[in-house]
């Protein structure tokens, strides 16, 4: 796992389109493909699955997650774990070791 120093906007450009896991402080996980996000960390995810302990709900289409102070989103691409879950291939270049952690 490597952490790379980069500007936030570079980070935003790179992870759009990748499979991601969004962990909220409340303990809920959302897994899906990152459709877009903005400067306030509002997030749109496609084909989202919501995990609380086990799998609870499936959300198809877009799910919007609000970015705010109290809820912390840990947003990181999960390459190996959901490689058969996500139809689009990870971006070219780096291997599965390439993790961006943004907390």
């Amino acid at each position: 796992m490597s952490l790379r120093k980069q500007t936030p906007s570079d980070f935003l450009k790179q992870i759009i389109g990748r499979p991601v896991v969004v962990k909220l402080n409340s303990g809920v996980d959302y897994r899906g493909v990152l459709a877009c996000l903005d400067g306030y960390m509002n997030i749109a995810i496609e084909q989202t699955e919501e995990y609380v302990n086990g799998q609870l709900k499936n959300k198809y289409g877009d799910a919007f997650l609000r970015g705010n102070n109290d809820t912390r989103h840990a947003l990181y691409p999960v390459c190996d774990l959901i490689s058969n879950f996500c139809t689009s291939a990870p971006r070219r270049g780096k291997s599965s070791e390439d993790h961006f952690e943004f907390i």
């Binding site: 935003l12 877009c36 903005d38 997030i43 709900k57 499936n58 198809y60 609000r66």
Partner: protein
Amino acid sequence: MKTGRFEQQPTTNTVEEPLDLIRLSLDERIYVKMRNDRELRGRLHAYDQHLNMILGDVEETVTTVEIDEETYEELYKSTKRNIPMLFVRGDGVVLVAPPLRVG
């Protein structure tokens, strides 16, 4: 160019923001997950950048867990109520999505 807490993407890119995609849900029924284990299902009449929303024809579901002190059984209860027109303050919103398909 708008500024947020994090650097915004330049105006030349073609990616829409999550809020632009919420705009597509205007006048449609949506599902809103809120803090304190509340869920709303209603018709989106209006929203803003804080995710304050006006919802019409709303069903609110409040979910509670009771733990039996003897058996330590978890008993999930949900309370529903219907509200014809509702203003939702944005800081309580966690997630916005099209209405859930069960299963």
